[in-house]
């Protein structure tokens, strides 16, 4: 609330994901790749394998280009982006963990220096000195993960920190160790994937076969570690968090979990193929595996972010920057006195600070189409019952007057015509659309709040009567405010709901 709001058209989640997924994919490779290089250099030197050493030198050039430039800079990029998108959360993290970050920086400096000297040292240094630099590089890179992992996991599971505010209790939180093991597995897997990409360009022959097999072996070992650690990680998350997520946002979470296992299975099968037929392994296949790895990692990070909802710092700060500790103040005085940077349009300012960090009007999680055909009273009810809606949304903590200002702001920007006028639909199709607008924002089919079974067998009159007294049916239920045509279509649709919306 104390900061201006960056009102850019791309959704905050999208912008963050684009930079973050790319960065984590490169940064974990920066760790695993370092281990891959130095371990293999050691083995190659011991065996007198000059061909392998030449390959490793080539790989180290690719490694340096990817990690030193793209890896380091996108890491800074994430820092820039979180400061722009979530300044209050960034401030809270920096104030609590500045010495963690500063410690991570010391490892980062050593990592960068060692990577450059290792890369430039192939022709300049003795074998022993070169290997020493390689180990220093890997050690520093992994230690930077050891530190940053504490801050990352803190955001999802702050544990006892919420009570004590103690640095170490927040740092070594419930998901710290499983996450560290999991991310170490990711590093090893990605080292294999990147090495496969470089190896895929080698000329066919025994050396290529050996190299591909070795790189694939790394990827498989990494995958195995990931599979075990992921189960451990899931169990370490407090049950209340996972249960809440599964209950109110089952689709994305289930899809993510499924995609994780699918990706792991696909990766394992793919790697088995690579091990069996390494000579035929081409660049296209290597790129496909890279894409698979990136998709998996993106899905994992997405699941982590999703699970945290409605918070950005679990139990401490909501995704829109509202602080849990300030709840009473917000409810008493409202958001507006807290908003330092004002534009003169209170409705717009409130919308930005309460909703806009997740929703856009027309892009990501767009509200204009979602609210098309809704009247002001219904929009107001949605705002005031935001915490009851699907998707684990934060509660609206402002005053009733402020909720009205946001409702006005949104109503002025949405299509006021009836659903039948907006969409050329009638009958069940129109009813389904009405259900999505009026009911589905809480009672999505297949979720814990799915009411399809309880509606089975009810007459049109009963259902219409139920709509009349909707506001009294439960906490946060809005009154039914649609027109007669919409009501008729909705009732018809509700009658078919237990059969999946089919006549």
């Amino acid at each position: 609330m104390h900061y201006p709001f960056w009102d850019q058209p791309i959704g905050y989640g999208v912008l963050m994901a684009v930079i973050a997924v790319f960065h984590v994919f490169v940064s974990h490779f920066a760790i695993g790749g370092g281990l891959y290089l130095v371990v293999n250099e050691q083995l190659a030197r011991r065996a007198g394998d000059t061909e392998r050493l030449a390959f490793l030198e080539q790989l180290s050039k690719f490694f340096a280009m990817v990690t030193l430039v793209a890896g380091a800079l996108t890491g800074v990029g994430i820092w820039f982006v979180i400061g722009l998108l979530a300044p209050a959360a960034t401030e809270a993290l920096i104030h609590n963990y500045v010495w963690g970050w500063a410690t991570e920086w010391t490892f980062f400096v050593v990592e960068i220096a060692a990577a450059m000297l290792y890369f430039y040292g192939w022709k300049r240094l003795t074998a022993k000195a070169h290997l020493t630099l390689g180990w220093i590089y890997f050690g520093a890179a992994w230690l930077s993960l050891v530190v940053i992992n504490g801050i990352l996991t803190f955001m999802l599971t702050p544990g006892r920190w919420l009570v004590t505010g103690d640095f170490w209790q927040g740092f070594f939180n419930p998901t710290y160790w499983p996450s560290l093991v999991l991310r170490t597995g990711v590093c090893v897997m990605l080292a294999g994937l990147y090495a496969l990409l470089v190896a895929s360009r080698l000329e066919a022959g025994d050396f290529k076969a050996r190299t591909v097999r070795l790189a694939a072996g790394w990827a498989v070992v990494g995958l195995a570690v990931i599979a075990l650690a992921q189960a451990w990680y899931w169990k370490a998350i407090p049950a209340a968090v996972t249960a809440r997520a599964l209950e109110t946002m089952p689709t994305p979470v289930r899809a993510i979990v499924l995609s994780l296992w699918l990706a792991a299975a696909l990766g394992a099968v793919g790697m088995a193929l690579v091990i069996l037929a390494p000579r035929r392994f081409g660049t296209a296949a290597a790129l496909a595996f890279m894409a698979l790895g990136m998709a998996w990692f993106g899905a994992f990070e997405w699941s982590r972010e999703s699970l945290r909802k409605p918070y950005i710092l679990t139990g401490y700060m909501y995704g829109n920057g509202a602080e849990v500790a300030e709840t009473a103040n917000y409810r008493r005085d409202g958001f507006l006195p807290q908003i330092t940077f004002r534009t003169g349009d209170d409705g717009a300012d409130l919308f930005r600070h309460a909703c806009r960090s997740c929703h856009t009007l027309d892009g990501y999680k767009a509200l204009r189409p979602a609210l098309a055909g809704a009247d002001r009273a219904y929009i107001l009810a949605l705002i005031q019952g935001a915490h009851l809606l699907r998707g684990n949304m934060p509660p609206f903590l402002g005053t009733p007057r402020e909720a009205g200002l946001i409702a006005d702001h949104l109503y002025q920007r949405t299509d006021h015509r009836t659903l039948a006028a907006i969409y050329p639909l009638d009958g069940l199709a129109l009813g389904r659309r009405a259900y999505d607008l009026r009911c589905g924002k809480c009672h999505a089919v297949g979720t814990a709040s799915d009411k399809a079974k309880s509606l089975a067998g009810q007459s049109a009159e009963d259902l219409s009567g139920m709509l009349d007294m909707a506001a009294s049916l439960g906490e946060g239920m809005p009154a039914y405010t649609g027109d007669a045509a919409e009501r008729k279509a909705l009732v018809a649709y509700l009658q078919t709901l237990s059969q999946g919306g089919k006549p």
Partner: protein
């Protein structure tokens, strides 16, 4: 349940300030070598002043200077955000797209310098186009930093700009408030870059001459522009001249100028290590002045003393140990890499 409050600084202010000033000086030194060195190499290339092998040799150093600049830039920004979050985040958000584009600009400059470096190694020639591209990226970055951090010191302007435009496409319109400051910084980079060139090219008369010219000319111009910048701030200084004078700023300015002149003198006597130390300390003095000036300009809207101090000593000690270890390892690695080792020639690469 009472939740922990995050509005605190986890070490005494003097300690955080000292770390900020030290790490910012290190960053500025590396950045000046990079920006100044790139501009000087470009200038020398256009005028064909340097023999090709010397130019190629210098181009190969620039990626390392970039790595040093980026990695040393993290800590001062961290400490800055720790103490001035309200000012820094607000200014970066108002100019969000320009701020974010810094990442792209630095990546572009970095890759351009790497490509130039590899090309120079392979062909012995330096690509002026790539150097120009790198210079463009670096100059953009420096201009955004000057613009945004100047904006951070003007909370009223910041509020007025945000009220008109929330898109993140706001460029600080008060060019007078940061134009000279940016120019001073670029000229300072040319000065330090000149020293850097003259040290690396001490065996090349052409490089040494260019470096010397940049060092002397850059320092004179930087001093003149710096003075103009201070004068341009007279509206602030008129109001706050008293408080400003009561700080050690003026004595520090005098000492910093004396150190800069001493660096010139020592450089002319070929006492490069001592000259470098004087130049570094002079930059440190300027960084301190910059710090005082920020406090003066924020007077009325921000008070350092208002921060609650709640030290976290055990994490700080961990950082301190790691920081010392970092310095030790860096020195050890540099010695390992640069020490003359005759046997290396006989133990060439790819040897088990």
């Amino acid at each position: 349940m009472t939740l922990p409050d995050y509005h605190f600084i986890s070490a005494p202010l003097w300690l955080v300030t000292a770390l900020h000033l030290l790490t910012l000086t290190l960053h500025l030194a590396a950045m000046s070598c990079l920006l100044g060195g790139t501009l000087i190499a470009l200038w020398a290339g256009v005028r064909k002043q340097w023999p090709a092998p010397d130019a190629a040799g210098f181009a190969r150093v620039l990626p390392a200077a970039t790595a040093a600049t980026v990695s040393l830039g993290v800590a001062p920004l961290l400490f800055l955000q720790l103490v001035y979050p309200r000012q820094i985040y607000a200014a970066t958000i108002v100019s969000g797209w320009f701020w974010l584009a810094v990442i792209g600009a630095v990546i572009m400059a970095y890759y351009a310098l790497y490509r130039t470096s590899f090309q120079a190694h392979r062909t012995g020639q330096v690509s002026l186009g790539l150097l120009a591209l790198a210079a463009l990226g670096l100059l953009y970055t420096s201009l955004v930093y000057s613009s945004v951090f100047a904006l951070a010191e003007q909370p009223d302007v910041l509020r007025a700009l945000y009220a008109k435009d929330q898109s993140g496409w706001v460029w600080n319109p008060a060019v007078g408030a940061y134009g000279l400051r940016w120019l001073h910084m670029v000229l300072g980079a040319l000065t330090v870059g000149g020293f850097f060139v003259s040290v690396l090219g001490r065996k090349s008369p052409a490089m040494a001459a260019t470096g010397r010219a940049a060092l002397v000319g850059g320092m004179a111009a930087a001093a003149a522009v710096g003075f103009l910048y201070l004068v341009s701030l007279d509206t602030y200084l008129d109001t706050y001249l008293g408080p400003y004078m009561r700080t050690p700023a003026m004595p520090v300015l005098v000492v910093a100028l004396a150190l800069a002149l001493a660096a010139l003198h020592l450089h002319s006597r070929k006492r490069l290590a001592l000259a470098g130390l004087c130049l570094f300390l002079s930059v440190f003095g300027m960084v301190y002045l910059r710090h005082v000036l920020r406090l003066v300009r924020l007077r009325g809207s921000f008070d350092l003393a208002a921060w609650r101090i709640a030290p976290q000593w055990s994490p700080f000690l961990l950082f301190l140990v790691c920081f010392i270890l970092m310095l030790v390892v860096l020195v050890w690695m540099a010695r390992l890499f640069f020490r003359p080792e005759p046997e290396v020639e006989t133990q060439r690469k790819h040897q088990p």
